[in-house]
């Protein structure tokens, strides 16, 4: 299985808080794919855990790595765009 990797930015003025974490987890669960996220250069966590995502304590302006395990690049891109959208607040 190949992995699509991208970078997204936290634009939400409050940072990476509970609501975007919940929205991302919902999206990940619906996709049925394994998706990992983490600060650029840091450890990645499975994006199906809201607590794991919140525990990153992502701040406004910080960049995050997103990895999506899939063969379908178009689907991966759609998911990444959606995640970026959630992080706009």
């Amino acid at each position: 299985m190949s992995t699509v990797t991208a970078t997204v930015t936290i634009e939400d003025p409050i940072g990476f808080h509970a609501r975007p974490a919940g929205q991302i987890v919902k999206l990940v669960k619906e996709s049925g794919l394994e998706i990992r996220m983490g600060k650029v250069g840091g450890n990645l966590v499975k994006a199906n855990s809201p607590l794991g995502l919140m525990a990153m304590k992502g701040k406004t302006g910080e960049e995050l790595t997103v990895e999506v395990d899939t063969e379908d690049e178009a689907q991966a891109q759609a998911i990444i765009d959606q995640i970026q959208q959630f992080l706009k607040g």
Binding site: P13, I14, G15, H17, A18, R19, A21, G22, V25, K26, K46, N48, S49, P50, L51, G52, M54, A55, K57
Partner: protein
């Protein structure tokens, strides 16, 4: 059937008869414990509890409004977080029983999240989630479980904001053993027009299923009483179309402003601005403030609008102002005292109000809360006058400022008395202490004497005077205030009509007679009954 009378403090004017429903007190959770060795059974218990709490959350989300529903949804996802469950299973392996394991697992995450202001409230929420799961496992009852149908008078020690939010339509009356006339329960019951008797220590004896009369006008509960036993409220009959002094409304939000405009209120006597900030984690931009204020000012009932600058303290913190914990928040850095560390914020509030004043074309008066000295009043007046074209005033709620009103001549245009805080500071009685409710009764002779002195001093200094505390929502007390010489009162929105009618039923001289009757009372009961008797004579 023999009747038994329990006395307390009444809230509201209507009586109601219904069955007693005693609210069960939340039980404490058991202390952390180990399980007996059957890990699979513990894991099954945990899974079942998590699922049940998850469906409870779903039903709460359905009941809640749109914004809260999103919070419940996010909490639901946290509850079902697989890494959380895995970490709880690891706790089971260490020997902890299911409830303790889940609380411990959640605590690990709570610690990871702590120290970050973004998550402060969420941490309380997720700890509460863990508690709910543990309570479910141990069959412990945590919250209110009120009937949804039928008609009940609910009886409890006192009710928190979380409790009153769950009042169903089956709650037709409320009795609290503790709590005073300014307690949260009293304020909510008044605004929802639910008859209540608070500070009723005899209510401890009430049993489920007993029929009781909640008789707020008589300040009592009658076991076995019927509607026929209810004390008649003085029915004020308006003699003129205009009240002797204007009746304004208290507001705190755009919804309040819209609703107040539908009443007969003449302007707004207290616009509490802190509600706009209490939930903001970052300081709202000046543009955002101007927009909110313009919307609200535009919606207000016709007449002047008295805006109170931010009234926050460490017990009512505004997240972005970062207020350190204090031993005695009521006596701490609150209200206008915030000017020491947050002068720019107060100035930005005044500047936003000036822009909103121009945009709305309304007459705006501004006042500062918690002013203790004439020097502070002067400081606020110069800030406010530099910021815009307002009438400028202060709240009178500390005993010290009462002695300096004469020095406010030429400094401020008006004063507005906050009777709730004035009582708290005058009687050295914490508003939040449910045992001290009786001290906060507006009919206390010392409060009446103090209010009278404030009215006299203001008049001498040529300063306009008003009252915006809860006492201004009591129709009979509003007449007493008019008798003292106050220029206006401001009431909770639901009471504007009743207060207006009371103030339209008397002349200035008659209001004076009612005040003189009240001030001759030796205790709060006597003061009230003398005033009501006088009002009864006038009505004849």
């Amino acid at each position: 059937m023999t009747q038994q009378v329990l006395s307390g403090l009444g809230v509201g004017l209507e009586a109601v008869t219904a069955e007693v429903f005693r609210v069960r007190q939340a039980e404490p959770l058991p202390i952390p414990a180990k399980h007996s060795g059957d890990i699979d059974a513990e894991q099954a218990k945990l899974r079942k509890a998590v699922d049940e709490v998850s469906s409870e959350l779903e039903s709460l989300a359905e009941k809640a409004g749109e914004t809260s529903a999103e919070i419940f949804e996010a909490l639901g996802m946290i509850l079902l977080d697989e890494s959380l469950f895995d970490s709880a299973v690891a706790q089971l392996d260490d020997g902890w029983e299911a409830g303790t394991a889940f609380v411990n697992a959640m605590e690990t995450f709570a610690e990871l999240l702590s120290g970050d202001p973004t998550f402060e409230e969420r941490i309380a929420d997720i700890r509460d989630l863990a508690k709910r799961v543990a309570a479910n496992i141990h069959g412990i009852f945590l919250g209110l479980d009120l009937p949804e149908t039928g008609k009940f008078v609910i009886v409890g020690e006192d009710f928190s904001p979380a409790d009153t939010a769950q009042f169903t339509s089956a709650v037709v009356g409320v009795i609290t053993i503790q709590g005073g006339p300014t307690s949260h329960t009293a304020i909510i019951c008044r605004s929802k027009s639910i008859p209540a008797v608070v500070s009723c220590s005899g209510a401890k004896e009430l049993k489920d299923g007993q029929m009781v009369l909640v008789d707020p006008v008589g300040d009592r509960v009658v076991i076995g009483g019927t509607a026929a036993d209810a004390t008649k409220a003085i029915s004020f009959v308006a003699k003129s179309t205009e009240p002797v002094i204007p009746v304004r409304s208290n507001i705190g939000s755009l919804e309040d402003a819209v609703a107040a405009a539908a009443t007969a209120a003449e302007g707004v006597g207290l616009f509490r601005t802190e509600l706009l900030y209490l939930s903001a984690t970052t300081e709202p931009t000046i543009e955002r403030q101007i927009q909110s204020y313009t919307e609200i000012l535009t919606a207000c009932p016709e007449g002047p609008i008295v805006v109170r600058t931010i009234d926050a303290g460490s017990d009512k913190p505004v997240p972005f102002l970062k207020m350190p914990d204090e031993e005695n928040p009521a006596l701490g850095v609150r209200g206008f005292r915030l000017v020491r560390d947050h002068r720019e914020f107060i100035v930005s509030q005044l500047e936003a109000l000036e822009e909103a004043r121009k945009a709305s074309g309304r007459e705006v008066w501004v006042m500062a809360p918690m002013v203790a000295t004439a020097a502070e009043a002067k400081e606020f007046a110069s800030l406010a006058k530099a910021a815009g074209q307002f009438k400028v005033g202060i709240m009178v709620e500390t005993p010290s400022i009462v002695y300096e009103i004469s020095k406010l001549k030429g400094v401020v245009d008006f004063i507005s008395v906050g009777t709730n805080d004035l009582s708290q500071y005058l009687f050295a009685s914490d508003r939040m202490n449910p045992n001290l409710g009786a001290m906060l009764n507006p009919w206390q002779p010392a409060l009446i004497a103090s209010l009278n002195q404030i009215a006299i001093e203001s008049k001498k200094a040529g300063i306009y005077s008003g009252v915006c505390g809860e006492s201004g929502s009591d129709p009979a007390f509003a007449v007493v205030l008019a008798g003292m010489g106050y220029d206006s009162v401001s009431s909770s929105r639901s009471q504007v009509g009743a207060v207006r009618t009371a103030l339209s039923s008397v002349t200035h001289d008659e209001a004076r007679e009612v005040f003189e009757a009240a001030i001759s009372g030796h205790d709060s009961d006597e003061a009230k009954s003398l005033a009501l008797t006088k009002l009864g004579e006038i009505a004849k």
